[in-house]
Amino acid sequence: MTTVDEKAGVRAADEPIRRPATAWTYRIRTWEYLLRQWRPYFWSGLAEAAGAPLLYLLALGLGMGSLINKRGTEALGGVTYVEYIGPALLCGAALQIAFSEASFATFGRFKWHRTLWGITSTPITPAVAADAHVMFISTRLLFSAALYYLVLLVFGAAGGVAGILMIPIAVLTAISCAVWIMVLSATIEDDASVAFNMVLRFGIIPMSLFSASFFPISQLPWAVRWLAFFSPLWHGNELARGSALGGLPLWQAAVHLSVLIAVFVTGFLVVRKRFEKRLVV
């Protein structure tokens, strides 16, 4: 475009280098922005990602674990307590991060900072912005899960070689929940604290407690055991534990994986629509 006069000082000296943009260009550019926004928190986030597992492993794995190991761990499949909870701690930590990124952080871009309105005034569509959010949260999850895995390795709680699969499993588990929390963030207008506290109290916390994170669900009475089947975290825990410790039949692994993928894909489709509905009025 050449109608702008150079004297007005609104034209760069060089001609713009503009590659033909595709939807992927736009997704990556928005993802880049979200990473840039996260950058100031990178080191503190990393410290938290490594620090939290240390605390959990020390307190639960070694502290409580020493008591449990003494009483015998047949119910845990014959592994030490720290080995038992390691995969679940990794998935649970990913879920926490997914919650914080998908709730207040995403909601804030709609409501408080309104940055999503700025983004979608450009060639970036609401659906592309939603895609970029999913990409960004997955990136964050990948970093944290990888770090958590390294800490588990140090504690001897990372299982065998296949234990490295815990990383993508934790990412999938957490993002499958994150997309649904994003649906909420894109829908609510006010009272975010109330809504997100409900999610935390009646979603994340019970899910963390009753998804075979700290004890096998076989220890629960049948009346409540079935609830775990609806918990993405349980499916994630079972898969992660299966990959680290083995012993998970292939068909069960396939079921767990299918459930997680189904939860993610449906949530992802809904959240793209929700972004559209919120931003195009």
Binding site: M1, T3, V4, D5, K7, A8, G9, V10, R11, A12, A13, D14, P16, I17, R18, R19, P20, A21, T25, Y26, R29, T30, E32, Y33, R36, Q37, P40, H113, R114, T115, L116, W117, G118, I119, T120, S121, T122, P123, I124, T125, L279, V280, V281
Partner: protein
């Protein structure tokens, strides 16, 4: 640049009511023009702007921006638009320079180009010294300038400004007007909404007055004043409430009289003469003023209301 015919926007509120924000307006804005929407809050200005910005689908009517249809070519249109929203939506966690860089990236430019463009626009917005400051550290006027600079990252052919100076102090407004005037000189088509008549008079070649979702008048500021108002206005100021006592007498002196809460406005061709007649008729205001008609008077005439409540 912009062509609209019978453009309509309605939406349903949560209570189930249908709001008709824009009720069939016709518009044609040629390249290079500075075009304004003048009207009070709720007149349908912002809804119209959102349709032009391709972020709000029209309910009915025709709309073409840069020769394209927003319904099918929204991305291609937005690629060539600059948008200054009513509420700033800068990223407060990033620096001033990063805000420009990130925004330029959305348009598909290379990294080198985006940094260079950011520096150039910082200069344009007189924010070079604040380049590495966080947005939170900026004053309202600076934020507004940054938002305008940000809207220029893609050298837009059409710049949309929704109430660009609302909430700013007079000095900050003048700095902004100067920047916008330079853009206009540089050939950028400006479309702005405002409820300040002085802003409309300063910046717009042509404007429409909107009320209740419809265009009630159209023309250049001078044309509108000539068509809908008299040359001069006598303002008689009273202690609020007491203006009603003088109303019957004053209404005999002129063809048109407006009654405001603390004032009577007498529309006349010769202000001094009318003021003299008012004094002679025994009207005793607290203060009086003879001035030229403005768009505010046009607006009062057309809608029966003040622009700024």
């Amino acid at each position: 640049m912009i062509h609209a015919a019978g453009l309509t926007k309605s939406f349903d509120t949560k209570g189930g009511e249908t709001v008709h924000a824009v009720r069939g307006i016709d518009l044609d804005v040629p390249r290079g023009e500075a075009f304004g929407f003048l009207g009070p809050n709720g007149a349908g200005k912002s809804s119209t702007m959102r349709m032009i910005a391709c972020v709000s689908p029209r309910t009915d009517g025709e709309l073409s921006i840069l020769g394209m249809d927003p319904n099918t070519q929204g991305i291609a249109i937005r690629d060539r638009l600059g948008v200054v929203p009513q509420q700033d939506n800068l990223d407060e966690e990033l620096t001033v320079r990063e805000n420009l860089y990130v925004y330029a990236r959305y348009f598909g430019f290379s990294k080198t180009y985006c940094w260079a463009k950011a520096d150039e626009l910082l200069e344009f917005a007189q924010l070079t010294e604040k380049a590495n400051a966080k947005v939170t550290a900026l004053s309202g006027g600076m934020k507004r300038r940054l938002t305008i600079a940000r809207s220029l990252v893609n050298d837009p052919e059409l710049l949309l400004l929704d109430e660009p100076t609302t909430g700013l102090d007079p000095q900050a407004r003048h700095v902004l007007w100067d920047r916008l005037f330079r853009l206009k000189q540089a050939g950028v088509t400006l479309v702005l909404t405002t409820h300040y008549m002085d802003e409309a008079e300063q910046l717009c070649d042509r404007l429409v007055v909107m009320d209740g979702g419809q265009i009630v008048a159209e023309g250049s500021p001078a044309q509108l004043i000539a068509r809908y108002s008299t040359r001069e206005v006598v303002e008689l100021r009273f202690v609020p409430g007491t203006q009603h006592a003088a109303e019957p007498v004053a209404s005999k002196l002129v063809d048109r009289l407006e009654v405001l809460p603390d004032r009577l406005l007498l529309y006349t061709q010769d202000g001094d003469d009318t003021l003299e007649q008012a004094h002679a008729a025994g009207i005793e205001p607290v203060a009086s003023l003879v001035r030229r008609s403005t768009l505010e008077d046009v607006f009062l005439r057309l809608t029966g209301r003040s622009l700024v409540d």
